[in-house]
């Protein structure tokens, strides 16, 4: 049984595929999308998030850390990532959740057990979605979770960038009912600029999956300054129009919900100029794509379907 590194499991997930789903977020991604709102999933290793505003100043982390990664000065808590070995001992003692470990090793079997917890809610259209990060960075783990879920009769979906050789993608086809794939832009040069990766494999693999008859939803995160022009969306739609198994094309307006996370991870904040298109602009883009005969949806923005909470602040 394979194991893998996950960031978290989201029950009652309603944006990552149809119906009520459980989404498993895997850690690690080979792309570096400049607007990424899940930066905690980027690195392929466990790491520590720091939320200074939650710190109560008990200094337990400083006391127990054997590597000197935590220190308190007149400016408050200081955390040195260079010294930290991510043993997690400080996290276990930080009841205020000012220190949070992101990245947990799990077996596929234990993940499936979590997926089954909400089995009663999945009918008729819901199920499990593997997301990330990039699931194919942990391909065996991903396939194992999906295969076992399928054996339980649960609908399976995967959210992947498909920027992989076909031989990596192909095993997924046997265990996935729905592929959720981003096309950020058809312009390969721009794609490399904004994500660090070419879009060629993504586009090739989409054609291959379509030829196999796999159901596909394609999505474009729409970011002003990156891909918000009608001709850019039109180009994506032109590519999608011949696909026979395209379920729908979704436009996902950029949102800045992930920006606070960067600081907690010691990363630079994304480009501050990024913003979402206005609703009217989005409607125009949707019309542009729909003009190619596609079913186009504009995602509802921040809807999580969950209570409006961020993690328990413990206030």
């Amino acid at each position: 049984m394979s194991s893998g590194l996950i960031t978290h499991i989201q029950r009652f997930s309603v944006h990552d595929g149809p119906g009520i789903r459980t989404t498993v977020f895997l850690k690690g991604c080979q792309m570096r999308c400049a607007w990424c709102h899940n930066p905690e999933t980027l690195r392929p290793d466990a790491e520590i998030q720091v939320f200074p505003e939650r710190c109560i100043g008990c200094r337990t982390c400083e006391t127990i850390c054997r590597h000197g990664a935590h220190a308190f000065t007149e400016t408050g808590h200081n955390y040195d990532r260079q010294l930290c070995v991510v043993c997690g001992e400080c996290v276990d003692e930080c009841y205020a959740k000012a220190l949070v470990r992101v990245g947990e090793m799990r077996t596929a079997e234990s993940v499936v057990a979590d997926v089954l917890a909400d089995r009663a809610f999945y009918e008729p259209t819901g199920g499990v979605t593997i997301s990330g990060g990039e699931p194919l960075l942990q391909a065996e783990f991903t396939v194992d979770i999906l295969a076992q879920s399928r054996q339980e009769g649960i609908h399976t979906a995967v959210e992947t960038n498909l920027a992989w050789p076909w031989r990596v993608v192909e095993p997924l086809a046997a265990v996935v009912d729905l592929f959720l794939v981003d096309i950020k832009t058809m312009d390969d040069e721009a794609h490399r600029k904004w994500t660090g990766v070419s879009n060629r494999q993504t586009l090739d693999n989409l054609r291959q999956l379509d030829a196999l008859g796999k159901k596909i939803t394609v999505r474009t995160p729409v970011v002003v300054g990156v891909n918000e022009r009608p001709q850019q969306i039109g180009a994506v739609a032109d590519f999608l129009a011949p696909l026979r198994n395209l379920d729908q094309y979704e436009l996902l307006p950029y949102h800045s919900l992930g920006t606070g996370k960067y600081e907690s991870l010691g990363l630079d904040e994304p480009c501050p100029e990024f913003r979402a298109p206005a609703p009217a602009e989005l409607e125009r883009l949707a019309a542009e794509a729909a003009g190619r005969g596609l079913i186009v949806k504009i995602a509802g923005g921040a809807f999580s379907g969950t209570p409006l909470s961020s993690p328990d602040s413990l206030a």
Binding site: H8, I9, Q10, R11, F12, V14, P18, G19, I20, I56, G57, C58, T60, Y95, A96, K97, A117, D118, A120, F121, E123, T125, G126, G300, G301, A302, F303, S304, G305, T306, P307, L308, S309, P311, D312, S313, L314
Partner: protein, 722 residues
């Protein structure tokens, strides 16, 4: 009170006028009376110069018994202002709650001083002296009318003779007073009609006068008359003692609607307007759909029209859809669409399967269980057949747990979870017995305190027997006993087991000291957070979930294992109503990391922020698992992000949550769909959001009319989840 002529008289414009007028009236209530942390009730303020005070018949300044209540009610109705709005299809609003004008709500000669120490010790709300909280059968009134009810009272007075004459005399005077109030209203309508220039409104007023003139004596024949009759009953019942129980509204009104339609008297637009006026008149608790006694679905065209009326009205509303296997799926869908589109926190959804099977566990047949419907804040009742004290009796189980904890620390040389549980069981048993004795006291003397002179009229038995409903007037006494603070008790037990016994992170005594000092200083705060981050209820298969189940089973066992000393059956549920603040104020710091005085968790809900992902599915499963299972409810109170309104699939998703909860054994489902930014802005300046409606607990309310503390409670729940 007469409105000026308005040019727009189509139904949409009239409803808009009525809705805005209600918002103004709501604002006036806030300005004159201050915040009200409870139901909207549909009450409007009397004119500023209205001054009426009840007459005491007891040295303590209060009034009691048949005479006290009858005299005051009749005098109040004689002076109660009349209300006519030419835009409204229905006449009347009520402006006074008589039962809130008493100095003391229980006659001192029946003191229960011996119970009070335990009430304080265990955080018990005894229900002693509380009125209403059972359901009338409107069918009785719709069939007889006020004249028929009067004849019925006189008939049975003659049969019973002088021994019970006082009871019947009081009932007779109550009806005559009601007829007098309606008569005065008719005169006001006629006066208004004389002044009305708009032909549409003039026609409306003429018909309104005709309807009401007839209803003084006769039973209703048309949908308009039936709506008006129900409105009158609701108003007088509210005036008497704030009763808010409704009925199976679609079935009650269906014959009138069908007859009107067959005879071409109205079309569906007329019906919707009439129904909207009824819902505006008072947000009573009505059930729609659900099984008839034989199991057949009661959904009718009228069920949909009532939902549509509420949808167009867009105000506070307390409609409940009874979800059962045979329910027309379109009704559920329409209800969820209203919930999502209007964001007024209605309708609610009631889980038939667990409710019927649960009530049958008390020894009742399925046919009777199906007639027990959702007509109160969280509660179920057999209309006109049982007395219940629903939602008036509560035990704060977290307070009981802390009594056990403190006692263990003081007396046990080797504290342990086993010792704690044993002491908790002992004290909870004592708390239940104390509650049971209070229920007996209520049933023995409530008729001498506050006879139900209005609700008796629509109950099967009191008039026939000459006995108040609380005193042998009905055959069925199923007394509601709710637990409160389930999550606080369960999380405390889980935290103690995990941190103290399993991990040894803190000793029993050190924790006790910390609780005593309310988690003082940085070390105390660290301990508090340590306890708070222990496994807790709602996470799913956690230690907290196990303890919640164990606490609920114990509570259920103790409430059901034997009747009250007086032989009355008790039925358990979990519900805190709007008492989360009050019950929290009485409670010191608890081992779940809750500070002294903070609110307790809501009803059967896990605490806010119970999971990092706040998953609604986890909430729904957790609450389904802790149902007591005897036919009363332990509701879900769910808060959802409004962006679902932009998502076509949202109706499917919310429907699935609801139906799965009921498949898993759930009993009642309340949902708020509220925008976080909007609720925060409204909290800052409520006056900017006069139409913002939230489901506080079992009831909906205008957010602007809640007190700052209560708004904060709602905000915390909405923002931090569940």
């Amino acid at each position: 009170m007469i409105d000026s002529v308005c040019e727009q008289t189509d139904y949409a414009s009239r409803l808009e006028h009525l809705r805005r007028r209600k918002e103004v009236q709501t604002r006036e209530k806030l300005d004159r009376q201050g915040p009200m942390d409870e139901d909207d009730y549909g009450m409007v303020l009397p004119p500023a110069d209205f001054c009426w005070k009840p007459k005491a018949n007891h040295p303590n300044g209060s009034f009691y018994g048949l005479e006290g209540w009858c005299d005051n009610f009749c005098d109040l109705l004689e002076h109660h202002p009349v209300y006519v709005d030419p835009m409204d299809a229905l006449a009347g609003r009520y402006m006074v709650l008589l039962n809130r004008l008493r100095e003391c709500k229980w006659p001192p000669q029946y003191d229960y001083d011996e119970l009070k120490p335990e009430h304080a010790r265990y955080g018990i709300i005894s229900g002693i002296g509380n009125d209403a909280h059972f359901a009338p059968d409107y069918q009785i009134g719709l069939e007889l009318g006020w004249g028929g009810l009067l004849a019925k009272v006189r008939k049975f007075r003659d049969e019973h003779g002088p021994e019970k004459a006082a009871f019947f005399d009081a009932e007779e005077r109550v009806i005559l007073a009601i007829q007098g109030w309606i008569t005065r209203t008719v005169e006001a309508i006629e006066t208004a009609a004389e002044q009305e220039m708009n032909p549409v409104l003039l026609d409306n007023l003429r018909e309104m006068a005709e309807v009401n003139r007839r209803l003084i004596e006769e039973p209703p024949r048309t949908l308009r008359e039936a709506c008006q009759w129900i409105a009158w009953f609701n108003m007088v019942s509210r005036i008497y003692n704030r009763d808010g129980a409704g009925g199976q509204l679609d079935e009650l009104l269906r014959p009138y609607y069908e007859r009107d339609r067959q005879e071409g008297r109205i079309d569906d637009e007329d019906a919707i307007f009439l129904l909207a006026c009824l819902l505006l008149n008072d947000p009573h608790y009505y059930q729609l759909g659900g099984p008839a006694p034989d199991g057949r679905d009661q959904t009718s065209e009228l069920s949909f029209l009532i939902l549509e009326a509420g949808h167009r009205l867009k105000s506070t509303c307390n409609l409940t859809i009874r979800v059962h296997d045979g329910l027309d799926p379109r009704l559920l869908r329409k209800g969820v669409e209203c919930l999502i589109e209007d964001r007024k926190a209605w309708p609610r959804f009631s889980g038939d399967k667990a409710l019927v099977e649960g009530f049958m566990r008390n020894g009742y047949p399925a046919e009777l269980a199906r007639r027990r419907i959702a007509v109160g804040c969280h509660w179920m009742a057999l209309p006109g057949l049982e007395y219940t004290m629903n939602d008036t009796v509560k035990i704060n189980v977290a307070k009981v747990l802390m009594v056990a904890f403190d006692e263990m620390i003081q007396k046990d040389s080797a504290p342990s979870m086993e010792c704690l549980w044993q002491r908790f069981e002992d004290h909870l048993r004592r708390a239940v017995l104390c509650v049971a004795r209070g229920i007996d006291l209520q049933l023995d003397h409530q008729h001498e305190n506050e006879p139900e002179l209005v609700l008796n009229l629509l109950t099967h038995g009191p008039i026939e027997r000459g006995l108040n409903v609380t005193n042998g007037g009905v055959n069925l006494y199923n007394m509601c006993v709710d637990g409160a603070a389930l999550a606080n008790a369960a999380d405390s037990l889980a935290a103690l087991e995990y941190r103290v016994e399993q991990q040894g992170r803190v000793t029993w005594q050190d924790l006790a000291d910390c609780l005593e000092g309310n988690y003082p200083g940085v070390d105390g705060e660290r301990t508090r957070l340590m306890m708070r981050t222990a496994p807790h209820y709602g996470e799913g298969d956690s230690l907290g979930d196990q303890w919640a189940l164990k606490v609920s089973r114990l509570f259920t066992q103790l409430v059901t294992e034997q009747p009250t000393p007086g032989g009355r059956r008790m039925i358990p549920g979990w519900f805190s109503w709007a008492d989360t603040l009050r019950l929290g104020e009485q409670l010191g710091a608890t081992p779940d990391g809750r500070r002294a005085g903070e609110p307790i968790a809501h009803g059967a809900n896990p605490r806010p922020g119970f999971r990092d992902d706040g998953a609604a599915t986890a909430l729904v499963k957790a609450i389904a698992a802790v149902q007591p299972g005897y036919g009363n409810t332990a509701p879900v109170q769910l808060e959802l992000d409004p962006c679902i309104a932009q998502d076509e699939a949202a109706v499917d998703i919310v429907s699935r949550l609801i139906t799965t909860h009921f498949e898993l054994g759930g009993t009642l489902f309340n949902v708020n769909i509220v925008d976080a930014d909007q609720i925060l802005a409204a909290h800052k300046d409520p006056s900017l959001y006069p139409d913002l409606v939230v489901r506080v607990t079992g009831f909906t309310a205008y957010f602007a009319n809640l007190s700052p503390r209560f708004r904060q409670l709602v905000v915390d729940r909405l923002i931090r989840g569940a």
